[in-house]
Every structure is written in C-alpha cells, then in structure tokens.
C-alpha cells in the first residue's frame, strides 16, 4: 500500500507501507547504525519518534526474542529504504514486517532515506505524519500541531516498583524508560536492583536505603519531567547517584545546570567520545536529542563528544555523582565503554573515580 511521509515543512516522501497500516504522527529522527534495528525499535527512548535508518537494507537478520530492549516496540514508525523479505539468522524468530504488525507500528519502505536524512540534517528534527489516505493541507497541519510528546516518560516507565535480586550493592533505579541492557549490565555485576517508576518520590526511593541511585535513559525533553528533577534534588548529597542519557540531563538540571535541544540529535553507533579519565577515545552508542548545555557548578567534565564537543559525561567528586550522556550498555552498538558500569558501581559504593 502506498503511503506518504509528510514533514511539517511540507516536504513529501512517498513509499510503501508495511507492518501495521495506520496513520501516525511523530517526530522524525535518523539513526546511522548499520545493525541493531531490533534494539532501536524496542528502546523506550524513541517513544514518540519515527526512526529513519540511514543504512538501506533493514530486517536482514529478522527479529528474535533475546535482543529486546523493553517489552514492546516504542517507535511511532519505522522508515527504511528496503526491508528484507527473507531474513536469515540462527536466532531469527520473526520478520521485521511481522513484528511491526504485532506491535501495531507502521513501517514505510522505498524511501530515499539519504535524501530524507539530509533534509533533517539541514532543517533539524521535524514532526511529520505518515498518511495512508489523502489528507488536505489543513488536516495535516491540524494533526501535526496536535502532536505532543511531553508525557513520554510516564508512558514508558514501569507502572510498579519491582526488584531484581543481587548479592553486591543495592541500587535504586529510577526508570524513565530504561533499556533492558542497562539492567542486565548492572545485574551481571551483582547489583541488587530496586526499580522505581519515574513518578516515585525521594522518600519512596530513600526508604529502601539503597547504596546508590541510578537514573535511567528515557525519551523526550528532560524539562518535561520536573517531578523527577525534584526527586533527584532531594537525593543529592544523601546517596551517590549515577546516570545515563536522560538521567544525566536530569541530574544536570537538578544540580543547577541547563540542557538544550540539538538540531537533529545523536542517534547511532559511531560517536567518538574522549574520556579524560583514561585519556582515550571510545566509540559509543548514542541516542539523544537533548544535551547538557551548561554543567552545574562543581562538576568536572569527564567526557566530550569529538564531533561537536558536547558534554558526554560529568563527575562531582564531593557528591559522589557520575553520569554519562552516551550508552555504555550498547545494544545496539559498541561495547567499548562497558567499564563505565564498573566505575558507576565504584562511585555508588562511595569510592572515587
């Protein structure tokens, strides 16, 4: 079935719909990873977004049940040049098409994804609609204007508090849309985890008396979740805090720093980050539209992005707070920075970097 991607600036890309055929509105971002579409689809940070893959062939190895980053797919739509009809891999359990159908998500193929990527690069992230029937310009405008992603975190956070057993330190996790591989990474290092919904108050979190608190990744603008910032403010100084991605931005806001929106974000597996602790450069997995613009007073920058010099990590020695913007849990992407989790644990145990 023919379908159109109509950007808010009026540009139209025509392709063929697959997956679950329904009209969708969202924010268009592009991801430059050549593998890892399954992890991308199921990453809660993409809530509200339509993801364009710059690599042209997608779905080659199908979908399996092991590589899920959450219990469902969160993207609004999945835009590719070419979807594979005949995936193959020893773990392939579903096709991309089948999985999207089951998740009620529309796919769009046959798009000149490079041209679309360049449009987003030039104009910045844009809202858009995927139309499966003719719409008038005013209908389109109305629908696009109605799009709002401010409630994203509350949509993807856990509804209930839960625990994951572990023998070593006890970490309270604030789930703003956490990727499973973060939990797996902490669990693999023996952490006992108590996972809280994003709406949890500082009292609730401190009541389990954790050794440290971890703030997760998640979708949208950190300024959309002032309640989490508020909770963090009250935890600061009481417990060591570590964070990834959105969590890192929330920490910065809580400590008096500021965040800003990037033109088209960082979404991919090839971002070089200079680590001032080891003085080496690591290739990292990234997925964010916002960055820390001003770091809070008293923080030391531990990491910067070599491409655009944005802040990628900060450390408060006195407060035992350490956070990174990139994704050490990878999934998808390079596992080069897995040691960050060891550093997190060290900090949460009260140690210094």
């Amino acid at each position: 079935m023919k379908a159109q991607l109509i950007l808010e600036n009026g540009m139209v890309f025509e392709g063929k719909a697959f997956g679950y055929l329904k009209e969708t509105i969202g924010e268009v971002v592009f991801n430059t990873g050549m593998t890892g579409y399954q992890e991308i689809l199921t990453d809660p940070s993409y809530y509200g977004q339509m993801v364009v893959m710059t690599y042209p062939l997608v779905g080659n190895y199908g979908i399996n049940l092991e590589d899920m980053e959450s219990y469902k797919a969160h993207v609004r739509a999945f835009i590719v040049r070419e979807r594979s009809d005949y995936p193959n891999n020893f773990r392939c359990e579903l096709t991309l098409d089948g999985y999207l159908k089951s998740q009620k998500i529309i796919g769009l193929e046959g798009i000149d994804t490079r041209a679309l990527t360049k449009v987003i690069r030039e104009h910045g992230t844009m809202r858009a609609i995927i139309a499966v029937r003719e719409l008038t310009p005013s209908q389109i405008k109305l629908k696009i204007d109605a799009f709002n992603n401010q409630m994203a975190v509350s949509e993807v956070t856990t509804k209930e508090k839960y625990e994951i057993k572990g023998k070593k330190i006890h970490v309270a996790v604030i789930d703003c849309g956490i990727k499973q591989n973060i939990l797996r990474s902490l669990e693999a290092r023996g952490c006992k985890l108590t996972v809280f919904p994003a709406s949890a108050t500082a009292e609730e979190i401190l009541s389990v008396n954790p050794d440290g608190v971890f703030l997760s990744n998640g979708p949208a603008d950190p300024k959309d979740v002032p309640e989490v910032v508020e909770a963090v403010k009250q935890i600061v100084g009481k417990k060591p805090i570590t964070a990834i991605c959105l969590g890192h931005q929330l920490l910065s806001l809580a400590l008096g720093g500021d965040t800003m929106k990037l033109k088209f974000g960082h979404h991919g597996c090839n971002h070089p980050v200079k680590d001032f602790i080891t003085n080496r450069v690591y290739i990292t997995s990234q997925n964010h539209n916002y960055v820390v613009e001003t770091i809070p007073a008293g923080a030391r920058i531990t990491h910067t992005n070599l491409n655009d010099q944005t802040v990628e990590g900060m450390y408060f020695e006195d407060l035992n707070i350490y956070s990174v913007q990139f994704h050490p849990e990878a999934a998808p992407g390079p596992t080069d920075t897995a040691h960050i989790f060891d550093e997190f644990i060290k900090v949460m145990q009260g140690g210094k970097l």
């Binding site: 593998t35 890892g36 070089p272």
Partner: protein, 1073 residues
C-alpha cells in the same frame, strides 16, 4: 600527542612488482602514506623495484630508488641516505618481510634506524602462527585447532589427530601461496611439501577445517595511545575455505545481527590492542552460522588488499591515517579529510552496499585449474556501489568485462544440473553463474545454501535476479511498463541485459527510459551516512529522485580509467590515468574520473575533482557524460577498457579528446590498417585475415612456416600462437573458429628478428619519441613478457632513423593526438611493423621515469591543442642518455596458477615488471634480474637443460661459456648428446615419456640452480616439456624458455658483477648521478 619531531627522514619500502596476491593496492596505500609523511615536512626515501607506480614519482617521495627489493640493496640505500626511521607496513607482505629481515640481521640497529608504526615484535607476534596462537590463548580469543609443522610427517601426524579435512597454510607467503584444503593423506603430503618449500621460514600450519562458517573481516586502526576503532567490516559471500581475495565480498556485513557484529568487532579490537598494533590491521574471523561460536583466522598487521577495499568502500583513508599514527599522532588529532570537520577517530557508517568481485586470469590461461581454494588466484578486482545488494552486485558483474551483463551464461546453460552442482560445490571462477543457472532450473534454494555454505539471504537475492531474467525472456518490448522498468533499474539491471533478454537492442531500452524519464542520480560516499556535510567528491549512481552532484560550469574533462587489473592491462594504465588528471588539473581544468577498481590510486577521491565509482560500460559512462557535459572525454589512458568506449562515443557524438575513434578503428582493423601501410609504403610481415580452415592452411602454405596466428581483435596477445607446421595450425584454427566464428583469424609470416618498441607523442603533425626500446628476447614473445632495454644497445643508427620516420608517418596518417605505441621488428637489416596501438601503453611509466620526459603531461597538452615543438622537449627522437641503462624485466605469477603454461610466447603471461638501472647494460640487467627473482651463482652452478632440436646448436655455444665458469649440466638425452659433442660434460636423465620420474626428482632435489627449456609446443599439459616447466615453477626454480635471456645471464656471470660493487641511483635527482 603531537607528532614525534625527532622523525626527519623516513624510509618506505614498496611492494615490488605486481603479482597475484600483491597488486596495485600497495601503490595506492604506499602513495597515500608517502604523501601523508611528506606533507609534514619529513623527507621520504622510497625503495621499490616497480617502475609502473605512482609512488615512485618524484612528486610522491624525495628520494626514489627503483632498486631490487633485497636486503643487500636496501642496506645500500640505508647506508647512503641514512634515514632515521622505517615505515614497515605499507609495502605489503614484501615490505613487511624485508623490514623483519633488516631488523633480524641487525641492519636497522647498525645504521640507527628505528621502526615507526607497528613494531617488529608486534609484526612477528601477528605473523608467526605459534606466537599468535599463544597470544590469543592469553587473551581468551578462540582460534582454530592447529599446529605449525616443519616436516611433512609432522603434518600427517597432526592431521590424524584432529581429523580430516584439514587446511594447510604456509607461513610468510603472499596471498596464501602454497596452501590448500585436503581430505586425504596423500594430498596432504603433496600440499605440505610444496607449502614448506614456499614458506620463507619453512613452516606450514595444519589446521582444522571449518568449511561452511561465515568469513568476516574487520579493518581496524589503533594509535600508539591505545585508542582503537574499526573502519569497516566485510562479509564474504563465499564461506571460509575460499581465499578472501577470491571471494565475492560485501561491505558492510549483511547477515550479522548487532550482537554478532559487536562480538566480532570487540574481538578484533582486543586482538590488535594485545598485539600493540600502531596503525592499520586486518583481522579475519570465522563465524559459525548456527551459534555465537567464532574463531580468529589470522591478522595482517599492515595495510592490505582488504584495507584498500575498505578505504574505497567507506571513504576512510586507512594508509594515510596509518602513516600519521606512525608519526606519533593520536587518532583524535588526525582530521577526517572527507568531512573536513570531524576527526579520523570515528567509525564510518555506510548508507549503501558495496560489492567486490574478483577478476581471474582464466580467460588468458584457459588450461589452468580453476578451482578456488585457500590460494588466491585473482589478478585484480572490481568494486561496485549501490543502494541495494542487487544493484551493487549487478553493477559489479558488468564491471568485470567478461561479457556478462546478466546471469545468463551461454556455456553453463548447456550444462546438466549434475555438472552445475559439481561446479558449485567445488567452486571455481564461474561458480556464481552456475549457481544462478541452478536456481533458474528451480533447484531448491535451501539446498544451494547447504552445498555452498552461502547464506540464504544472498541466495534469495540471486534468485530474484534470475526470476526477473526469466520474466524478461518471456516479455515483448511493448509489454515493458515504466513501473517495472524503473524497478529493474533500481535493482541494477543494465539496459544491455534487459535488451538481450527481451530480444531488442540496447538503444531501444535507453530510448524508452529517456521517454519515461528513468535516469540515474548520483549519491555521495561520505563516511557518515549523510549525518555531516561532506567535501568528498566521490559518487555512485542510484535510481532515486534526489541528486547530490553539483555540476560546475567550469571547463572540465572526463578521464576513463582502466578497470580491474588483469594480465595485459595492469597498473601502468592507472599510472597514465592519474597523470592525465594531474596534467589537466595543472591547467585549471576540472577533472572527472570514472573507474571501478578499488585497488588503484585513480580511485582515491582526492586525485581528481570528481570520482564516479561506476562500471565502465557504454550505459554507465553515458549517464555520467550527460550529467557532467564535459568538453571532452579522454580514452587513451585507460587501456583497452576505455578504448572500447570509442565506438559508442563516435555514435553518440561525444567529443573524444585525442585520436579520433575512427582512427582508432583504422589501427585496430586489419584491412584498414593494411591500406594505411600500403599507402605509406611501410613493410609488415606478410599476412592475411582468413575466415575458414581451408583458407588458413592455404595462406600459411603461401607464406611459409612458421606463421603467427591470432584473433583479429586482441588484448594482451590473447589466443596468439606461433605454429611451425600444418597439424599445429589446423588444431589452432579449429579452436579459434569454435570460440569466435564471427571474426576472422589473422595469419602472419613469423620473422625471427629483433623486436623494438616505441612510445610516441603526436600533435597530429609532429612527433616526439621519448625512447626506443630494444627487446632482449627475439620476436615472437609478447612485448609485455620481454625484457626491454633502454637505450637500445644493438640497433644501428639507420634503423633508428627509419623508426623515427615510420613512426612519424604512421602517427600523422592516423592523425594521432596524444599517445601511440608501435612495435617493430628489425629483420635482416630492414624494418617491419608488427603492431600499432593508438593509445598509451605499459611502457609509458618506465620510459617517463627513465627519460624524465613527462610523457602523459605532454600527451594531454597535445590533445588540448599545444604543439609538440613548443613543449620544450624537442621533436623526433629524444636524446638518449650516455652511460645509463634501464632494463624492464617481466615478473610472473605462474607458480600461483596450477596447470598454467610457463614458457614465453606471443600470449602475455606476466603480471608485473621490475626495473634494473645501471651505468652499463650488464649492471642494469643484473639488477633487473635480481629484482625479478632471477639470479645465478657467480660460478659453479648447475643448469638443467632440455632443448628442442632447432635450438641445440645455439644452446651449445652458450653452454660452453657457462662451463668455462664452472657450471655443471644435467640434460635429457638429445640435449646431453649435443653438449657432449661440443665437449661439455652433461649428466643424462631419462625423459618422463620414457616412464621415469628422474627429471622431476632432479628438479625437486634442490641441486639445480636453473632450468632451461625451449618448448616445442605450449599449452599441452601431457607433454614432457610442460611437466618439466611446471615442476620447476612449483619447486620455485628459475626457468628460462628463451635462449636470449640465458645469453644475457651468461654476459652477467662472465662479467662477475657483484652486488657489493653495483651502485644505486636516486631516480628523483639525476639519472647520471
């Protein structure tokens, strides 16, 4: 860290002549590395024996030594130039081995030269199988169960332990030479023996066979501070067991999930970190398709063929960055030249698919055993870029110039399914066509995967292509719809393929497309998937709507490259293309290059103003032409590949700069050319074009035997033979007409005279001959395989004058604008012409370097309308140097191609060449022979001779000279008798045809220094001569099949030239130094 300021003078060792396993990629990477060093203000001293390279240009290095790549000569260079550093990893395996040897012999220490980049200890750890295994064990990286052995018996014992099949891999050889997979002990003994012999350290690895696993490569970089990245990963469509150089390869990997991709990436980085690699490295891994199990196959701690491919596939300049790392920079300090904004410290992301297909020499060597295995046999490769797998693959197929535009393969269509299956299982160069043919006959896809080990992902893609071919075959022209045609074009189908399948001509499809506005657009290769603005003018075509090319309104010219490296069309043509571009750029003209060979300098995106990485077919070329509308196109530097476009240019009124296409035809068409010669009264060996067997035999009878026979349109002497008798001619003609019934066969009288070769420049009126070259071997041996001497030694003045006159007449008559190459024979004090090529030839780089006449630059200027007389190099014959000689010696790869005829003849067989320079012709010859791997003991060697009866008198004369120097002889009966009759002792061995293996045993025993065999008949693998020659080649013995070469060797040995007394010459400074 900034660069190490103590580095002031760097020695770079090149890779030497082009051989199978070591081709143009090292000119590309070497040139890039030298430039990266030179731009830092550091002096570059270069040693390379190969004159046909860009890297030996004076613009690339400060001091250039075209000298033999042996320890002795490199030590001379070190002693003279006193470099403080050596960069080891850019000259291929040759350069790496030499660096190790220089280190081991204490030469580096003696002259205080340190190795920069990856250190010798790391190179050894990466290259020595046992050390590498131990290292892998330490860092918990799985390797394949294996053992290094030094005897055949140990090999057999270990194979018994791990079970067959096993793989044999010799240590320190090029392109896996001498290896193989075997299922039987008998075969193992054979392969192990040959492998042990070929290995520099006399070791082979016996390894458990993991056939059917996926073969995946990672190109990785690491700096001295520990930062490590991967540039590209590549997946071989052919599974483990077929050398990656002989595999169809895609980049990036297509069938690996992120988990697998990252697992292997991490392993690669861990390995190079553990090895302490400083620069680029290639890591080959095998992945079990049914689990996460993997194994490290090997690493190459240097730039490689794969790294050249990865550079072109991603736009990331691996050699350049490696060189910068060696100078001390960190990856985060080296700018990314593609974006101009980011740094070299990132991982390229592709938003297209790259497909590499090998180019094999079996069209030339049709008797060769074509089975692919762990030994590389391809001479070159093509790369194609598309935004689907199908388009990349189909573009690749037509780039190969094997006459295939679709999967439909005439010969294989006649095979039974059984035969096809066998071809697919054993795997030869035609495997992919056999596989397609099986799919066409509805052989089950799953089963194809099972018997080939290919992933069904790819097989399904091939099946789709086959299905469209079938649909088209049933379709009428007027049934084509815009929708379907667009779909086919998006998937890479060529007009020619569609036309052939439907049964119309190519023009019909093009007309239809233009009517329906189905035309390609061009996308950029930018390393970053469009995320950042890029400055790389590097493009490929797609059938999308959005075009990224900015067409300028400047004056511009398109240069057509020469495609994949093959026998007869080597790196020389890339040299010419690159120089043409430089000449145009120097004149402020915008340059556009079109080529499809990833190994070359010409496809480096900053050589030209724009690079189109596209197939060199009429269609693909035409689209670029229409896009860019250049003022003209230049065809004469791209070998036969580019010349093939001349007819099309003529038809489409595309302005060709230089000699007009009609004149090209006049030179290549026998009858038209005869008219030209007739008119000019220039002699050629009598001959005729014949269309039938009867006619042929009659013509030969009239001319008198021996006669030279060949097909009318030739490339590198394909299918050419000297026949001595009717029976032989009859056999040749049957074959020739069977292969090509549509074109005539040419029969010429064979003149056994001196062959002379000339490259000339012409502005339409006046000519300049930079040099007249004399061939060492008499006429009848392909000019590409002859030892060529400049300036000539034996050509009398009046013949030289005649050469100048004839060349001027021909060039003028053919209205040559630019280059012309003419081959003459001096026979009984008269001059005959044998061949004219109205284009650049393989001797141009060599003559340019030796004479310092910038031949290509002048040729381009002539094409642009300048007069030769005004260029400052005079007209007529350029003055020949005094007391300076340069000898070009051919180099062969026949030891890598089982069952290939070795003896020299009219068909070209060499893959590369070296240059020897000296103040006497003997010194030049001596160095040339050494550089080509031919040398004789100064006294007391043993010559094994088996000489055909017509040559025995001549041989006896030569033998006397060798005997006087203390040489011994072993010979077959006839030859021995002749020697004895001349008073020379000779040990007699029985002929093979007498049922004895004595000859083969003598050859293998190691007691012989050289085998001299003049053949009676080539290409007949049942004959004694053929077997002797192969045995000699396989035992790595020198073999001479021309007495002229032997005579030159006698001259050298008599002169008692010693390496210690020879000089080295900086070709960048003054030839007379």
């Amino acid at each position: 860290m900034p660069r190490d300021m103590s580095i002031k003078k760097v020695l770079v060792i090149g890779s030497g002549p082009i051989v199978i396993g070591q081709a143009a990629e090292f000119d590309y990477s070497g040139t890039q590395a030298c430039q990266a060093i030179k731009e830092e203000g550091i002096e570059v001293v270069l040693v390379n024996s190969n004159p046909a390279t860009i890297m030996t240009d004076k613009e690339v290095a400060d001091k250039i030594y075209i000298e033999p790549l042996t320890i002795d000569f490199i030590e001379k260079v070190i002693a003279k130039e006193k470099p403080d550093s050596l960069l080891a990893g850019v000259g291929g395996q040759t350069g790496l081995n030499l660096a190790v040897e220089l280190h081991d012999k204490g030469i580096l220490e003696k002259y205080n030269v340190r190795v920069i980049g990856t250190q010798i200890s790391a190179i050894k750890e990466g290259e020595d199988r046992e050390d590498f295994r131990a290292l892998m064990d330490r860092i918990n990286q799985p390797v394949i169960e294996s053992k290094t052995v030094e005897t055949v018996e140990d090999a057999v014992a270990f194979a018994r332990k791990i079970g067959y099949p096993v793989v044999v891999r010799p240590a320190y050889t090029l392109g896996g030479t001498g290896g193989g997979i075997t299922e039987t002990e008998e075969e193992l003994r054979e392969i192990a023996a040959s492998g042990l012999h070929l290995s520099r350290v006399h070791q082979v690895l016996i390894e458990k066979c993991i056939k059917g696993w996926k073969e995946v490569e990672y190109e990785v970089m690491r700096d001295s501070y520990g930062t490590a990245i991967t540039v590209c990963n590549m997946e071989n469509i052919d599974p483990v067991g077929i050398h990656t150089g002989d595999s169809i390869v895609v980049a990036p990997s297509q069938t690996l999930s992120d988990k697998e991709y990252q697992m292997l990436r991490r392993a690669s980085l861990d390995i190079i970190s553990a090895c302490d690699i400083r620069g680029g490295c290639n890591v080959q891994l095998a992945l079990n398709p049914d689990s996460f199990e993997y194994a490290v196959i090997e690493i190459n701690p240097r730039v490689s063929r794969s790294s050249a491919l990865a550079s072109k596939a991603t736009g990331y300049p691996i050699a350049r960055v490696s060189a910068k790392i060696a100078l001390g920079y960190g990856l985060d300090e080296i700018p990314n030249t593609v974006t101009g904004k980011t740094y070299a410290c990132f991982e390229p992301t592709l938003d297209y698919v790259v497909c590499k297909i090998p180019k094999w020499p079996f069209d030339k060597f049709y008797t060769a055993k074509r089975t692919l295995g762990t030994k590389m046999m391809a001479t070159g490769e093509i790369m194609a870029i598309g935004n689907s797998f199908e388009s990349a693959f189909l573009k690749g197929l037509r780039s190969l110039e094997i006459g295939q535009f679709s999967f439909k393969h005439k010969k294989l269509q006649e095979c039974s399914l059984d035969e096809l299956k066998e071809k697919v299982v054993i795997a030869d160069d035609e495997r992919i066509f056999a596989l397609a043919e099986m799919l066409r006959r509805h052989y089950r896809e799953e089963q194809v995967c099972k018997i080939t080990g290919m992933d069904i992902f790819f097989v399904k893609k091939f099946k789709w292509i086959v299905e469209q071919e079938e649909l088209l075959s049933e379709m009428a022209y007027d049934e084509l719809t815009p929708h379907y045609l667009r779909k086919l074009k998006r998937r890479g189908f060529s007009d020619k393929a569609i036309a052939e399948l439907i049964g119309v001509v190519e023009d019909d499809i093009r007309d239809l497309r233009f009517k329906w506005d189905i035309v390609p657009v061009y996308k950029m290769v930018d390393t970053c998937g469009g995320e950042f603005e890029a400055e790389s003018p590097y493009y490929y075509s797609t059938y999308d709507k959005t075009d990224e090319v900015e067409v300028s309104d400047k004056q511009k010219i398109m240069v057509i490259g020469s495609g994949p490296i093959r026998i007869g069309q080597g790196i020389e043509f890339d040299y010419c293309s690159v120089h043409a571009i430089m000449a145009l750029r120097a004149r402020g003209i915008e340059t556009i290059i079109v080529n499809n060979n990833p190994e070359t300098v010409s496809t480096d995106f900053n050589i030209s103003d724009k690079l189109y990485f596209e197939p060199l077919t009429d269609e693909d070329f035409y689209h670029i032409y229409l896009k860019e509308k250049p003022m003209g196109v230049i065809l004469q530097f791209g070998g036969q590949t580019a010349i093939k476009l001349a007819k099309f240019c003529d038809k489409m009124d595309i302005p060709v700069l230089g000699t007009h296409p009609k004149q090209v035809d006049a030179a290549e068409d026998r009858e038209k050319f005869d008219e030209v010669l007739e008119k000019l009264q220039i002699k050629r060996p009598k001959g005729k074009a014949i269309w039938s067997m009867e006619e042929g035999l009659q013509v030969a009878e009239d001319l008198g035997y021996p006669v030279l026979v060949r097909p009318s349109y030739v490339l590198g002497g394909q299918g050419m033979e000297i026949t001595y008798e009717e029976e032989q001619l009859r056999r040749y003609l049957v074959n020739a007409f069977e292969r090509d019934p549509e074109n005539p066969v040419l029969i010429d009288r064979y003149l056994m005279g001196r062959e002379i070769e000339v490259d000339a420049l012409c502005d339409g009126e006046e000519i300049l001959i930079p040099g007249i070259m004399e061939h060492l071997e008499r006429a009848g041996i392909h000019s590409g395989d002859s030892t060529s001497i400049y300036p000539s030694v034996n050509i009398p003045e009046h013949i030289k004058e005649k050469i100048v006159t004839c060349t001027r007449m021909i060039a003028k008559e053919l209205k040559v604008l630019g280059m012309i190459n003419i081959q003459y024979i001096e026979y009984k004090n008269d001059l005959y012409i044998i061949e004219v090529n109205p284009r650049s030839s393989r001797t141009v780089p060599y003559i340019s370097k030796v004479t310092r006449v910038p031949i290509i630059d002048l040729a381009v200027r002539a094409m642009l309308g300048e007069k030769i007389g005004d260029m400052g190099y005079g007209t007529g014959l350029y003055p020949e140097p005094q007391n300076f000689y340069a000898v070009k010696v051919p180099v062969f790869s026949t030891e890598k191609l089982p069952r290939v005829e070795v003896s020299l003849g009219p068909e070209m067989k060499s893959t590369g060449e070296v240059l020897g320079v000296g103040v006497t012709v003997e010194e030049a010859l001596y160095k040339g022979f050494i550089a080509a791997g031919k040398s004789l003991p100064r006294q007391g060697g043993t010559i094994f001779a088996t000489i055909q009866k017509y040559d025995q008198d001549e041989f006896a004369g030569l033998a006397k000279r060798f005997a006087a120097l203390g040489y011994n002889f072993v010979a077959t009966e006839g030859t021995a008798k002749k020697l004895q009759a001349s008073g020379i002792d000779a040990k007699v061995v029985k002929k093979l045809s007498e049922g004895s293996d004595e000859i083969i045993n003598v050859i293998r025993s190691g007691e012989v220094n050289i085998v001299v065999n003049t053949p009676t008949k080539g290409n007949d693998s049942n004959r004694d001569g053929f077997k002797i020659r192969r045995a000699a080649i396989e035992a790595s013995l020198q073999i001479l099949t021309s007495l002229d070469t032997l005579r030159a060797m006698a001259d050298i040995v008599e002169k008692q030239i010693r390496t210690e007394e020879t000089n080295i010459y900086d070709m960048g400074a003054g030839a007379d130094e």
